[in-house]
Assembly symmetry: C2
Homo-oligomer: 360 residues x 2
């Protein structure tokens, strides 16, 4: 993998990732624009959770027509985010980031009741374009292309981990209008938070307690249970296993985990990284195959935080889809959204069987 | 308020709530059907949270045409859930409950790692019909009707609190197809959980820590901040205040709280209960008025748990709407759903101003 760093017109950096050396020097010829300001973080005292407010984001691009896609390469009549006329994989900072670089000396305030300060929404948000083809999807890319995306994820995790205001790095993909996708071009995002996201805090507490009581990382024992039970496994290879979790929350939920514990993408071995594309493709193709449609999904990399819990929290990739039957979505209504209590209409053993039965 | 308890054909009880004494004796003439089995609770070890599995719910009614509405009164050609030919407010157990009465001796298991038992999904789920008119909405009901609904909520909270397997009672309403409503008839639900829902656990921890440090219930100080700041208040009366919370998570979110702390609906004073309909109507009418459409929303009663935190957790009614502009919804995508980290595109002061400007 070769990385070329270039400047964008408004001062952002764009990272071109290529499989082999290539000269990248296209200039971003768009007029220089001011960067949007940084949003704010407010503490929700009812739950002791930080909420990001990014009021400048209301005007962001909303399903532009294909010929105006900002993630396609630049071509006559279109000055996109990517100045070159082609690319393999590119990464750049979000144009309207929810979280951004704070002033020097920024610090997350302690909970001081109603006197708790409002602070800048410190963090970092990047867009990762999986391919320069506007049509298609991550799961349909050739394995070599998925491997290049994985190399970019690994590199970005390493680089963003160096920012002293970043505590947690979250690469993810939203796919499909049902989950609010505003650009169809195959792409993902990387959110880097300046606080531990609420769910990570919970996972950290659970994994820490688990290791103290059972002596092993939780994920290691969860994988052992899947191998013992067999019924929830979707597919596997030498390095990875894909399964519907024992207490799944969505009609179709797949966890893809390395068989050998690692805290984050940055610490994957060569062999682990190389074996990911095959299981990623198979998992996503089985998901699309259940109803024979492009399933809307959220694919999330759960990593250990940058500075904490690296011995207890194991890397895994979680794919969740809200479609429970053709034409029927699962909505997060009262119980899930106000109580955080998930109600599933389908057992994981049932959805795992449906996923396994798909003919590829 | 007068309550009449009658039996339904399959053995469930139906509670008729009337403003004045009336003879209710209509027989449910439908064939007796077996009740569905109880689902199961599985512990999600990754987060130490219980997930309910209710596989028997996949077949439940899905937007039936008006003439087959199971929540309308019985009439020639329609044997609905309500045997009488009219009603004011009725409550009955959900036909396909996610949570139901467990076997005697049921107990929530402790977290024992991958050996943690699967148990029956103990709890109780009720439907509450706000009116016998199929068209309309909660916010458009006359105040006297909303007061009767409030009386029913209070009565149900008192009654369900007596069940020894219930820890938390959650009355709520989902309104609009955007939040997955499967029946248009104005109605709500009451979920009673046999465990503390994850969000309640967090709120309990935050409120307990707050009282220990600041000596007062958190909600009391939150309301004091709203009165001091003014900018987020939507409307108020002698007993209640409606405001957009300081760290709102949804484009339109309104909290409606009694000015004097009470832990739950059962402990509302006569004066508090009597003053609720006016502020409920105004809050919901302002919400519909922002874009001049019926806004989809989730309206949730946050109560103190049945047996815990009753000195620290204050009753409030939370209305959340995912519509951020006409034609644009806020989706809970990667950051919210996988990380629990909310990103707001709009400041609460902005949405409070929009809500206040609505001409009623």
């Amino acid at each position: 993998m070769v990385r070329t760093d270039l400047k964008m017109a408004d001062g952002r950096t764009i990272f071109y990732y290529d499989n082999s050396p290539v000269t990248r020097q296209a200039n971003d010829n768009r007029p220089a624009e001011d960067r949007p300001g940084v949003g704010e973080l407010r503490l929700d005292l009812l739950t002791n959770e930080w909420v990001s407010m990014a009021a400048h984001r209301q005007t962001r691009a909303f399903l532009p027509p294909k010929e105006l896609c900002p993630l396609c390469p630049t071509k006559p009549g279109l000055d996109s985010e990517i100045a070159d006329s082609n690319y393999q994989v590119v990464v750049f900072e979000n144009r309207s980031p929810s979280l951004a670089k704070p002033k020097t000396g920024w610090k997350l305030p302690a909970n001081n009741g109603i006197e708790t300060e409002i602070v800048e929404a410190a963090g970092h948000c990047e867009v990762i374009c999986f391919t320069d083809h506007h049509e298609g999807s991550f799961g349909a890319l050739p394995e070599s292309q998925i491997k290049l995306v994985m190399d970019a994820w690994i590199d970005r995790t390493k680089e963003i981990s160096k920012l002293d205001y970043v505590e947690h790095i979250f690469p993810f993909e939203n796919r499909g209008e049902e989950v609010g996708v505003t650009l169809n071009h195959p792409h993902g995002q990387i959110y880097a938070y300046s606080f531990l996201p609420p769910r990570v805090e919970k996972m950290l507490a659970a994994a820490t307690a688990y290791k103290a009581m059972h002596g092993k990382p939780l994920l290691t024992d969860l994988i052992a249970r899947e191998i013992k039970d067999q019924v929830r496994i979707v597919c596997e290879n030498a390095e990875w296993i894909a399964y519907v979790p024992f207490a799944s929350r969505y009609p179709f939920e797949i966890h893809v985990a390395p068989k050998k514990f690692v805290p984050d993408l940055a610490e994957l071995s060569e062999a682990q990284a190389a074996a990911f594309p095959a299981i990623a493709k198979e998992s996503l193709q089985r998901l699309d195959g259940v109803f024979g449609i492009d399933m809307a999904y959220i694919a999330s990399w759960h990593q250990a935080p940058v500075r904490k819990g690296r011995e207890v929290l194991g890397l895994h990739w979680q794919i969740t889809s809200i479609r429970r039957q053709p034409g029927k979505l699962k909505y997060l209504a009262g119980s899930e959204s106000a109580m955080g209590a998930f109600i599933m209409d389908m057992k994981p053993e049932q959805s795992a069987a449906q996923l396994r039965e798909v003919k590829l």
